[in-house]
């Protein structure tokens, strides 16, 4: 008897774009605040960024119900870690935890496209980029979500070393200043908003550095 197929899907895509850029002593994490389904907008004011630890912020696009569940799992695991080790988790440690959590549901994945940004134990900016099932890599910058295909080539042009063949290997973290990186992020989002229907309304930007956390917000096209 041929296999029957379900007439419903457990997943939905709520759209949106996330970006993170690592600097020498700072990290910028940004995400738009539009939540949509199909051709409709659910809300113009939804935060896709979650603080997992003092120095780790995760931005996730995809199915927001799965994202919420994932954020809860990671937050509670971090709390347990704090009780057991009497300290906050470092960003690379949180990165590994996120990867393991995602792979744990390898055969019924979290429909979440994540970007983890923060400061490592030396105070340098670090960005980790993930797929839906936990494959991850430390990079200098990353974009995920519906506008990622529009933003990544622009960041490659502005931030990437010309080629990995060019030795000595250029360091992943960008030499740009914090203000320049924030300007770059705002430009990325306003450009992506022009051409991607799922990105818009406003962009929430988090800047992490030695002195703490800063929030910035920029209005985007609402059509």
């Amino acid at each position: 008897m041929p296999k029957e197929h379900a007439n419903w899907s457990p997943y939905d895509n709520n759209g949106g774009t996330c970006v993170a850029i690592a600097g020498a002593d700072y990290c910028v994490i940004a995400a738009d605040t539009r939540m949509s389904t199909g051709y409709s907008i659910l809300t113009r004011d939804y935060s896709k960024i979650c603080k997992l630890a003092d120095k780790s912020f995760m931005a996730s696009s995809g199915f927001q119900a799965d994202v919420k569940a994932l954020q809860k799992v990671l937050s509670s695991r971090h709390l347990i870690y704090q009780h057991q080790h009497n300290k906050q988790m470092s960003c690379p440690a949180m990165a590994q935890l996120l990867s393991n959590t995602l792979y744990y549901k390898r055969f019924f994945p979290y429909y979440a496209f994540n970007v983890l940004g923060g400061l490592d134990s030396e105070g340098k900016g670090c960005v980790f980029t993930y797929d839906a099932v936990g494959s991850y890599e430390r990079v200098g910058y990353s974009a995920q979500g519906s506008g990622a295909t529009l933003i990544t080539p622009f960041l490659d042009n502005q931030l990437k070393s010309p080629s990995p063949l060019l030795l000595p290997a250029k360091d992943a973290v960008t030499p740009l200043s914090e203000a320049e990186a924030v300007d770059l992020v705002k430009t990325c989002f306003s450009s992506a908003t022009e051409r991607d229907i799922y990105t818009g309304d406003s962009v929430e930007i988090i800047i992490l550095n030695a002195s703490g956390v800063r929030h910035e917000s920029e209005q985007l096209r609402k059509d």
Binding site: Y39, T193, E194
Partner: protein, 272 residues
């Protein structure tokens, strides 16, 4: 009526359908169509008809054209808004517009909206819905102002106010709340603009600017980009530079080895 202008074309050839179906079953993604997403509206006011449209054209989730024209010319006194596949709306309105012109030459009279309606609906019915064009047709002729909607399969409605496209519900919500008979020109234009804006901001398939067309007896006003409520929000003050050339990574010159060593021993080489 002469038959040359009204010759029935042979229609689509469906020969490749079975092969295309087999390929999609094997996993080949078929090429997408440029859909206009769209919010288009029309309403009748005291002196004529007002048509409105947004200006965004989408290809799936990407905006292909931020400022396209969706209000098409049919005749000096008739305009048509189009939603659905952009190529289809463009082609069908151009085609029927040409047919109307030839008909005007033949009869010596101004075109009537019902003529355009019949030509469009016959064309769409003949193609059994494969021509994906959903239209809002409006104009003023000797019999008065007219407004019609035409669906891709060829059915039509005659209405005092109408909306079509993915943003039609958002726009109709505005019309149903605020439409009344005998609106003045300014009230009509404002209502149409409000309805299109509702589509632009609440429907992801519609966006950018508002186009309006006001048609009255003997006069038409095509207000292209009547409202532009979506300017680019952030422009970096410092600007960005892009290198003009491809980066040179490595330069390696390998001289080609000589195959033949020609040694000249006195006198011409060619001589015995």
């Amino acid at each position: 009526m002469s038959t040359e202008a009204m010759d029935v074309p042979k229609g689509f050839s469906f020969d490749l359908c079975r092969r295309n179906e087999m390929l999609t079953k094997k996993g080949l993604k078929s090429p997408g169509y440029l859909k206009t997403g769209t919010t288009i509206v029309g309403l009748i006011f005291e002196n004529g008809v007002i048509l409105g449209a947004d200006t965004r054209a989408t290809e799936g989730p990407i905006v292909a054209d931020k400022n396209c024209e969706k209000i098409h010319y049919m005749a000096p006194n008739i305009y048509c808004c189009g939603a659905g596949t952009a190529a289809d709306t463009e082609a069908v309105t151009d085609n029927i517009s040409s047919q109307l012109k030839l008909h005007r030459y033949h009869t010596g009279r101004e075109s009537r909206v019902v003529t355009a309606l019949t030509l469009l609906k016959s064309h769409l019915f003949r193609y059994q819905g494969h021509v994906s064009a959903a239209l809002v047709l409006g104009g003023v002729d000797v019999t008065g102002p007219h407004l019609h909607t035409i669906y891709p399969h060829g059915s039509t409605d005659t209405l005092p106010y109408a909306t079509m496209g993915s943003g039609s519900l958002a726009a109709m919500a505005i019309f149903e709340s605020e439409y009344r008979e005998g609106l003045t020109r300014d009230e009509g234009v404002n209502l149409v603009t409000k309805a299109i804006c509702s589509g632009i901001f609440n429907d992801l398939g519609s966006g950018s600017n508002v186009d309006v067309c006001v048609i009255t007896k003997g006069k038409k006003e095509y207000l292209r980009n009547h409202l532009t409520p979506n300017p680019r929000t952030y422009i970096s003050s410092k600007g960005y530079t892009f290198s003009k050339k491809t980066e040179v990574l490595l330069t390696k010159i390998t001289p080609l080895k000589e195959l033949v060593n020609v040694v000249q021993v006195g006198g011409d080489a060619m001589e015995e």
